[in-house]
Symmetry: C2
Subunit: 413 residues, 2 copies
């Protein structure tokens, strides 16, 4: 897995290693319930010591997993005390029995924790079209809930491992945020790593905070943070049946996020953490050897810049060129030209990791050695200036390698 | 290259081996002008013995090659006597000097053939962003025009080879059509094979007919034929800067296509030839080991069926599964669910080469041997019935292999 530096801390926001069990009043753990064949943890339980304000965003695919249906209802009610997650099996395209299984996951968790069933969020990821082995899932839930009731310490790493599929490493980040009336924490865990595309592809992202946040503000900040992070990442252009981004705000820190300034700082922290999660997902795309970052500047609108940045990031030809360390700027311009508003290639400019490739319509004479060395870096950043306006956006993807083909040709139905 | 059977002939339409030099009054040849490094033909000249009614469709990419600008003007005027085509160099993203080079190709050809320069169509394909070596192109044009003036016989195979890039074989088909007042011919040559996506990705397709056809009818029939053929093929989702589909109708057979019945038969033949061209392009997609055909039935509209069929055909996960001979029906349903109108997976059905995989919302118990054998066939056909309406559409793609990655990681800028 490629190493990606975390965001740079500021006086108000200090980033640090941590996860959803970092904020006060949250507990997370994982267990190996033998749902698949990899032997590691595959059921994760998150518990909040008090009911939390809850918000979520969900896949827009017409084929929606049972967990999406169940958890969207929790989001609409707006209160959650726990989340139960399994990997190895998506419980998608499993019909009415699958919906019954997802509901059973919710009910079993609620009973074991003595909370209301309508306050338990459910998420699943893994193979499609195979019934959940509910006996094993049930044992996993029972075991994790017992650990919580017995007061065993949280194990964020075990929980973060339990949600992975073909990911090669855990993905997490936390931040301590200084607000006008005190400090709060936000923690995140996410998983990728194939079937990733804007509009929440196969990704699960969970956020927890001990701040006091009202539901409308939480909904709004989550939507905007996701628009600039998970909606900007593409591994293969496929959108999944199971994606969700969830956030719990349990208020355990006793610090409210309500003034305009505090909301601004909190949203900036949430967005930066989500952006790091998106970059971690792209960097760990199946078979990836490079993280591809695309910045489109000089666009007529942020939406158009984002559309073009995503088009470049998901272009199979650009991805293959990066893998081959070929600074193939023509493919980048062609990918950006295929979508959205018109622009004039004769005025545009393109650079790669700081090297100018194409300046105001003129190709730059190749510096074979310099360009090639620039592409050896684990992160390859294309900056495309359209010279068509004042807005910009970024997007992320990964290169296309023989490894991607191998993984996806042989990952079982 | 996978072998694809031509369409089945009918009493009115007899398909046969042939190309754009097959219809009366057309001449085609190719020559090796040393534009690249592969040593085979790379300049093609097509000449009509009399001015032909002319129509074209062009890439919608904002980044348009110089040849697209030049040839679209010929299409608007509607009359052409010749086409000059080069491979190895796309003459795209080459700015005003590139436009001057494309215009010079047009002028040099017109002078050598003693025809009006505004009647010469120009097409290019190959690497982006590199100036055309005009001295070599000019010699190639001169040599081909001299052969034509000297009355040397046409060589359709040499012409068909000259337009190829990473294609592994020539792509052509012709048909003899029996109309109410006599017989006419249509001939086609096309090239693929990467950067292929709906809206004319990197593809060049040339049609010639000796029928008498009015410009408005020719425009209309070409548009509809392309909508059901080249707009339904995807190799990698990338749209090119250079694509065009052109047709010349020179009237040399002296048989008019004007009655409703004759127009219907002619359009059916044109569509069937174009469909075969699209299938040949998909089957010869870079690195392909399978042609993927996708039929979506039971849709609310043909447009929605086409949108979903294309989404399945271009899904990286479906493509990798076909390569791995994995009948991963969940990926097919998920790809169709990500686009267009809503539908109910609990009512839908899916089959693969005649084997039911999923019937009205129920997964079928796997026949591992039978399913696996079904996927050994060079053409893998998914049929998805949405149970949401009465319309249908088909689309084509190819599997994603290590070969695709290898070709595109190392094809030079």
């Amino acid at each position: 897995m490629i190493t990606i530096a975390p965001p740079v801390s500021s006086p108000e926001i200090r980033f640090h290693g941590g996860d959803v069990s970092t904020p006060a009043g949250f507990w997370m753990h994982g267990t190996a319930a033998d749902l698949g064949d990899h032997g590691r943890e595959d059921v994760m339980l998150l518990v909040s010591s008090q009911p939390a304000v809850f918000s979520g965003l969900f896949t827009t695919n017409a084929v929606r997993a049972a967990s999406v249906v169940v958890t969207e209802a929790v989001h609409r009610r707006g209160i959650s005390t726990a989340g139960i997650v399994n990997s190895q099996n998506a419980n998608a395209l499993t019909g009415p029995p699958g919906l019954a299984d997802a509901t059973a996951m919710q009910t079993l968790t609620a009973e074991a924790l003595a909370v209301g069933p309508q306050t338990v969020a459910v998420a699943s990821t893994g193979v499609i079209g195979v019934p959940l082995p509910m006996d094993k899932v049930s044992r996993g839930i029972g075991e994790l809930a017992a650990r919580y009731r017995q007061g065993q310490p949280a194990d964020g790493m075990a929980g973060a491992r339990a949600i992975l599929t073909t990911d090669t490493g855990i993905k997490r980040l936390a931040a301590t945020i200084s607000l006008s009336t005190g400090q709060v924490e936000i923690g995140m865990v996410v998983k990728g790593s194939g079937m990733i595309n804007p509009n929440l592809a196969t990704m699960l992202a969970f956020f927890a905070t001990d701040a006091v946040v009202a539901k409308p503000a939480l909904d709004r900040m989550l939507r905007r943070a996701v628009d600039r992070s998970f909606h900007r990442v593409s591994v293969d252009g496929d959108q999944s049946t199971n994606d969700m981004v969830l956030i719990w705000a349990n208020g355990a820190a006793g610090v409210a996020v309500s003034t305009a300034e505090d909301l601004k700082v909190f949203e900036a922290a949430l967005t930066a953490i989500a952006r790091h999660g998106a970059r971690l997902i792209a960097a760990d795309g199946e078979g990836a050897s490079h993280l591809i970052s695309v910045v489109v500047r000089g666009a007529a609108s942020e939406a158009d810049a984002a559309l073009k940045a995503r088009a470049v990031a998901r272009s199979a030809l650009v991805k293959a060129a990066v893998y081959g360390r070929d600074p193939n700027w023509g493919r980048v311009l062609a990918a950006a030209g295929a979508v959205g508003e018109g622009w004039d290639p004769d005025r545009a400019s393109l650079s790669l990791n700081g090297w100018d490739l194409y300046v105001r319509g003129q190709p730059v004479k190749a510096d074979e050695t310099g360009w090639s060395q620039a592409m050896e870096r684990p992160e390859v950043e294309w900056v495309l200036d359209l010279a068509a306006g004042g807005d910009s956006a970024e997007a992320w993807g990964c290169d296309l390698t023989e490894g991607y083909v191998h993984i996806n040709a042989h990952y079982r139905t």
